[in-house]
């Protein structure tokens, strides 16, 4: 196995620019790694061998000819199958879109191409991004490279497992209630949910439109910032896209935490966390203080209502968004005598149990007589959580806490208990409700050799401080992202450590 797969995106970019390796060699090394390991990890729904090698060959040709290239020219990436790719199946891991080939590219996909990122394939996910384990995919489960009997998290579990397995240095996920940060934490990599509106949602298959946001996975903080820089920025095709210029994510990233105030969220540290998670988070906070940050205790008193508010708002928006799958314009159609019967039959056959459950919750919450008690109340709670954050940020620059209450759980463990699965998102949901950025950084392992994630949260458009704190801690902790342990995937280039 080529050692090229162990490189970060920044290293590959530099090797490629220096002509020490070709983009085709880089793509081939990663495709070989996928071939060798994906039978067990099952991160990919579709590997795009031909397209990837052709694009890489084109990058090499243009480099040789001295033509201009994108900032990440020749760097491979794993793309969540929720983003529209022209002429290439985009399934959202759902039967209802199994054969759907969009006639257009998502803006994020266009920007990746402008950056000359080489897309290796489309990755598995919970159907329509609804889930926290990738077990809700209609096509396959995905397995955690750190322990193949465990889930990679979700909903972006395919992309996070691919990056953790060294199939690709970069991945794209989406985060509506934690779907980038939670799988990043479970897989020992970096995952970022950017400020709402920073990355275009055009061509992102909608789940909950006021919460959905595209973001990067990587094995280093700097790589995540580089990828975010490539995809962020105003898009006229998305009316919720922030019109102001995007922040500079990289300029101050190595400046350290001296002089920064880091708030520790009291409620996140109170209860419900596994001891192994708590120990690593406590150590990370102590390291930040040692590195020169001022650590302050802050409160988000309404955060505990976040899960309840989220599981009304997100299903309500989903029930509306998913009404488009009616068997008329694209996707599956199951016949019926009347149009209504055809629609009901199509949706019954095309959606899996979790998607049906959320459509039902949302339809109920929005139905006559219940709207005020559920949806309107949930939106009031959203206001209270935004106010909580504003008060907290009067005292500090960033907030930290655990990303998840536990490390990766075993396949099948929570699949029959929807509410227990939902409570996995307790620490990640508040940032979605507030539209604010948050990142998960791997900070060590628990007693089962499973990665623990620290969540670094920042105010709207506060990504530079968020990256700076994460980068300082990353440099200090020197976490090794190579999966290891009794049931881990073999390391690239040798047997399991």
């Amino acid at each position: 196995m080529s050692e090229l797969v162990t490189r970060t995106a920044a290293e590959l970019r530099d090797l490629l620019a220096a002509g020490e390796v070709s983009a085709r060699e880089v793509a081939q090394a990663h495709l070989d790694r996928i071939r060798a390991t994906d039978g067990r990890v099952k991160a990919f729904l579709k590997v795009l061998d031909e397209q990837a090698l052709a694009h890489a060959g084109d990058v090499d040709r243009r480099r040789a000819a001295g033509e201009p290239l994108g900032p990440l020219a020749g760097v491979p990436l794993a793309l969540k199958d929720i983003l529209a790719t022209k002429g290439i199946e985009t399934t959202c891991a759902s039967r209802i879109l199994e054969t759907y080939r969009p006639p257009y590219d998502a803006t994020v996909v266009k920007r990746l191409r402008q950056a000359d990122v080489v897309v290796l394939g489309k990755t598995n996910m919970d159907e329509f991004a609804m889930g926290s384990s990738t077990e809700n995919s209609a096509f396959s489960k995905t397995y955690n490279p750190w322990d193949l009997a465990r889930v990679p998290g979700g909903s972006s579990g395919g992309s996070s497992a691919a990056v953790a397995a060294f199939d690709a240095p970069l991945g794209i996920g989406t985060d509506t209630g934690g779907s980038i940060r939670q799988p990043a934490a479970f897989c020992g990599i970096v995952g970022v949910k950017p400020t709402y509106g920073l990355v275009s949602r055009f061509g992102l298959i909608a789940f909950a439109s006021s919460l959905d946001q595209v973001g990067p996975f990587a094995r280093s903080v700097t790589d995540a910032a580089l990828l975010l820089d490539a995809i962020a920025g105003h898009d006229p095709a998305d009316s919720t896209s922030i019109p102001e210029a995007k922040p500079d994510f990289l300029a101050g990233i190595d400046k350290g935490v001296q002089g920064l105030r880091v708030g520790v969220v009291r409620e996140f540290m109170a209860e419900g966390m596994e001891p192994g998670v708590r120990a690593r988070v406590d150590e990370a906070v102590a390291r930040l203080e040692k590195l020169g940050a001022t650590v302050v205790d802050v409160s988000l008193p309404h955060a505990s209502y976040g899960v309840a508010a989220y599981y009304l708002i997100a299903p309500s928006e989903a029930s509306s968004n998913l009404s488009r799958y009616d068997g008329v314009r694209y996707g599956l159609r199951v016949p019926g005598e009347t149009a209504e019967e055809m629609m009901a039959n199509t949706r019954a056959a095309g959606f899996g149990p979790e998607v049906k459950r959320r459509i039902m919750i949302g339809t109920y919450a929005l139905s006559a007589g219940y709207y005020d008690a559920y949806y309107a109340q949930a939106q009031r709670v959203r206001t209270l959580i935004i106010r909580d954050f504003a008060e907290a940020y009067a005292q500090c620059d960033v907030l930290v806490g655990p990303t998840t209450p536990s490390t990766a759980f075993t396949v099948g463990e929570k699949v029959d208990d929807p509410l227990a699965m939902y409570l996995n998102d307790v620490y990640t949901i508040p940032s979605n409700l507030a539209g604010a950025p948050a990142l998960s950084l791997p900070i060590g392992l628990d007693e089962h050799h499973l990665p623990v994630g620290l969540q670094v949260m920042a105010p709207v458009l506060g990504e530079p401080a968020m990256f700076r704190v994460a980068r300082a801690l990353e440099a200090d902790l020197a976490f090794d992202p190579t999966p290891r342990g009794a049931n881990a995937l073999e390391t690239p280039g040798g047997a399991a450590a």
Partner: protein, 98 residues
């Protein structure tokens, strides 16, 4: 909030989901649990708190009214399960149960 099977069937009809009896029963119990948990939003915020629909509100987002490239009719219809004469084809709507 305890739902009845009739409640579940009513919501399923609104959502255009054909459900089996087993699904109706499973959803009755799961939705009752989930909604009972979600009801705590009622105690969290008083009526004086304004609701937030978007965390980063942008109002009146318009584009210039200029012709630009878009999908051709052929491309737009290329993904249809059934099409005829450049149109989406569906079972009868008029005359069926409204």
């Amino acid at each position: 909030m305890a739902l009845s099977t009739d409640d579940v069937r009513h919501v399923a009809r609104l959502a255009r989901l054909a459900l089996s009896d087993e699904e109706v029963e499973a959803l009755r119990s799961q939705l009752s649990d989930i909604l009972a948990y979600a009801e705590q939003v009622g105690e969290a915020a008083g009526g004086d708190v304004p609701p937030t629909s978007h965390a980063y509100p942008l109002a009146n987002v318009f584009r210039a009214d200029e012709p630009h490239e878009s999908l051709s009719p052929e491309e737009a219809i290329s993904t249809a399960p059934e099409a005829e004469d450049g149109r989406f084809r569906v079972p009868k709507i008029v005359g069926g149960e409204a």
